[in-house]
């Protein structure tokens, strides 16, 4: 096996001296936000029915044993275990091109392909949110869990992917609890949401007023919706545009003149207009405070020049953050986050090494060796105990005979299981039985 590329997991069918060898490769191909622009990612994104269909199709291909498909707004990836990784990748590429009705040459250069250890590392990094556009963002883990569930339901996940994903969830959990990577926000809209949470605690049923429009402001509103905020009001200088925006967030459009009365009820105000002067003045807020009974108000001012009078920050229970303040929050966070990312990569490294060990254990020979060694050690210990106490009186010759008997017994007991393993357990995927034997006899120690 020495001439095979390093980092590939190989499982040999060591059939009774037969030279036939089958390799099992973990292979991943796909594209993400660093290798492909958003237009392409949109085009190639799989919805849940398409994913299920693709999994069924790929699973049915000869040589492909396990399949998992993962599609989010930032990535489309196919992970497989296959007898020949390269062939599997070709099949997967063609299938994506077919289903998404896109010629292969449009996206082929954007694809990355990882084999073996690199594929494992990639999955761990994705699950731990180290490969995300916003490092440490928490949604990715849920999306991966969903993709894994689909694969399991389609019976496309076997011994190796099951293990791989349980490890990946474990890595993600460790990274989250042992490093500060998810603690701080690194995008404007995230930073704003984090602050809102520090003011209001739970954002559920808090009402939001969006003044004006703009990509960043709309993104912030989307984040808020994900945090299950209550009613959303949209105020725009042109009422029609406001109605249009409001329907996108299933909110209510209000007229610009209604802003002062809206201030009496809403909790979070996101402002992003092109107005050269202040849109919300200190007086407006001051007169709303009494009707609000002093409930807190949080202003997020994304506009330049600013829409919200900074003096409002001096009013009791009112908080104003403009774009520079939010940038200040992020700058501090990016610094701590990159420090934490180093710790996280170390956790990933450890997990990759452990997974590699486990995969090696799935080779037939090491498993047989481990099994024999464990049994031998047990027999030797029991022999020693008995010889040292109740059979102390035996002569050396007699002792040897007992030892020989124990060894013969051991060989007889292990003969059938070992033959069974060598024959690949008459199963298409011999790793099933290898892993069962390893668990049954606890060959990897308690995990």
């Amino acid at each position: 096996m020495g001439d095979l590329p390093s980092g590939r997991y190989l499982i040999s069918h060591d059939r009774e001296g037969d030279e036939h060898k089958a390799m099992l490769d973990i292979v991943l191909t796909g594209l993400n936000h660093t290798t492909a622009p958003v237009e392409l990612r949109e085009k190639l994104a799989f919805n849940s029915e398409e994913s299920a269909g693709a999994i069924e199709f790929l699973k049915a291909q000869p040589g492909i044993r396990e399949v998992l498909l993962f599609s989010t707004c930032n990535r489309v990836e196919v992970l497989m275990t296959a007898d020949n990784g390269q062939d599997a990748v070709e099949i997967a590429k063609k299938h994506i091109s077919q289903v998404k009705n896109t010629p292969l040459d449009v996206f082929e250069t954007n694809l990355y392909i990882h084999h073996g250890q690199e594929a494992v590392r990639h999955i761990f990094r994705v699950a731990a949110s180290l490969d995300s556009m916003v490092i440490g963002e928490p949604q990715i883990l849920g999306q991966i869990k969903e993709a894994f569930r689909t694969a399991v339901l389609k019976k496309a996940s076997g011994v190796i992917l099951n293990r791989l994903f349980h490890r990946a969830f474990n890595v993600a959990k460790r990274v989250r609890t042992e490093t500060g990577i998810g603690d701080s926000a690194v995008s404007i809209s995230y930073a704003a949401i984090e602050l809102a949470k520090k003011i209001f605690g739970d954002l559920e049923n808090r009402t939001v007023l969006l003044v004006g429009a703009g990509e960043m402001a709309e993104l912030a509103v989307e984040h808020l919706i994900r945090n299950r905020v209550g009613d959303i009001f949209v105020a725009n200088r042109t009422f029609e545009r406001g109605v249009e925006l409001a329907s996108r967030f299933s909110g209510k459009a209000i007229r610009f003149e209604e802003i002062p009365s809206a201030l009496e009820t809403v909790d979070i105000i996101i402002s992003s207009t092109g107005s050269p002067t202040v849109v919300i003045s200190r007086e407006m807020v001051k007169s709303a405070i009494r009707t609000r009974r002093n409930r807190a108000l949080f202003f997020i001012d994304i506009a330049v020049p600013r829409d919200i009078d900074p003096e409002i920050n001096r009013l009791n229970n009112c908080y104003v953050y403009d774009i520079d303040d939010l940038k200040g929050v992020i700058d501090g966070n990016v610094e701590t986050r990159s420090k934490e990312a180093i710790k996280a990569e170390r956790i990933v490294d450890e997990a990759v090494i452990r997974f590699e060990k486990w995969m090696e254990g799935l080779h037939i020979v090491p498993t047989i060796v481990d099994l024999r060694d464990k049994m031998k050690a047990m027999a030797a210990m029991e022999l020693e105990k008995t010889m040292g106490s109740s059979l102390k009186h035996l002569s050396e010759k007699e002792k040897m005979a007992v030892a020989r008997m124990s060894e013969a017994l051991l060989n007889k007991i292990l003969h059938d299981p070992i033959q069974f393993l060598k024959n690949g357990g008459c199963h298409r995927d011999e790793s099933v039985y290898l892993s069962l034997v390893r668990v049954l006899f606890n060959l990897d120690g308690t995990d």
Partner: protein, 281 residues
């Protein structure tokens, strides 16, 4: 039972709890906070044991000198903290509650054990109710003060946009405000009941409701501060910063009526808070 060993155990457990909460503040490992809580609970169990044995052996509530009164104050603070910890899930309040309980308890141990001299006064059920409600009330108000302090720290971080050390360590303003408010509502209710029972008992013992004793006057003043705070909250929604400041001021006044009056002014509550061994010619 060896009382000194019991006192020692309680003090050590409370101090250990404080240490664990202190390290928790810096390291933010959940295990530390749990250990702090467990140690405090351990101290509380022994502390309760002490109070119960004392009750059984003398036949009434052990509050006849400053040592015992302070010990009771520490005990009720711990009890109220446990309630707040479970009701509002504010783990970080421990960094306020644990040192408070430990300090009050250790200070109590430094006062001499003075025997009761007007035992009959202590044997009434009225007095038991008066003492228990007043102490639970004061402990709740102490927690409200703590929540107020934490609120002001967190609020300053957010307002000044500097955030800093406490920002990530403290819960949301809303949660701190709600905790403080709960402390005030419960504290004020218990305190009010305690004062009324005290007045009725005064009528029974001394045949008049109020004797304008300094402690009565100062308790009345602190009652008024909290009444004003609650009234404003209900009427115009005083919350957040103002409520936090008022909770702190109220507690300072309350502490003055509890301790300041004892040391500076005297009065008929002296029996509960004796701290100097009476001069015997």
């Amino acid at each position: 039972m060896n009382m000194d060993a019991l006192h020692g155990a309680v003090a050590v457990l409370y101090v250990m709890s404080t240490l664990f909460y202190g390290v928790y503040l810096f390291k933010q490992k959940d295990g530390l906070q749990k250990a702090g809580l467990a140690l405090m609970a351990g101290g509380f169990v022994f502390h309760t044991l002490f109070i119960l044995t004392e009750c059984v052996s003398i036949g009434y509530l052990p509050v006849y000198n400053l040592r015992l009164t302070l010990s009771m104050a520490a005990w009720s603070s711990a009890a109220v903290y446990f309630w707040i910890r479970y009701r509002y899930r504010i783990k970080v309040m421990g960094i306020y509650a644990a040192p408070l309980v430990a300090c009050v308890y250790i200070i109590s141990l430094n006062f001499p054990e003075i025997p009761a001299h007007a035992a009959e006064l202590f044997k009434s059920v009225w007095l038991v109710v008066h003492v228990i409600t007043v102490f639970i009330g004061e402990a709740s108000l102490a927690m409200a003060c703590g929540a107020g302090i934490l609120y002001l720290i967190q609020e300053h971080g957010i307002k000044s946009k500097k955030r800093g050390f406490f920002y990530s360590r403290l819960p949301s303003l809303e949660q701190l405000d709600a905790t403080g408010y709960a402390g005030i509502v419960i504290g004020f209710t218990a305190f009010t009941v305690g004062l009324i029972v005290g007045l009725v008992y005064a009528k029974l013992v001394w045949h008049r409701f109020a004797s304008w004793d300094p402690k009565e006057i100062w308790s009345g003043i602190s009652w008024l501060v909290y009444a004003a705070l609650l009234h404003e909250r209900i009427a115009v929604g005083w919350r957040g910063r103002r409520a936090a400041i008022m909770a702190i001021i109220g507690f300072v006044v309350l502490m003055f009526s509890f301790l300041g009056v004892t040391f500076l002014m005297g009065g008929h509550h002296g029996g509960f808070t004796q701290w100097q061994i009476p001069y015997k010619p």
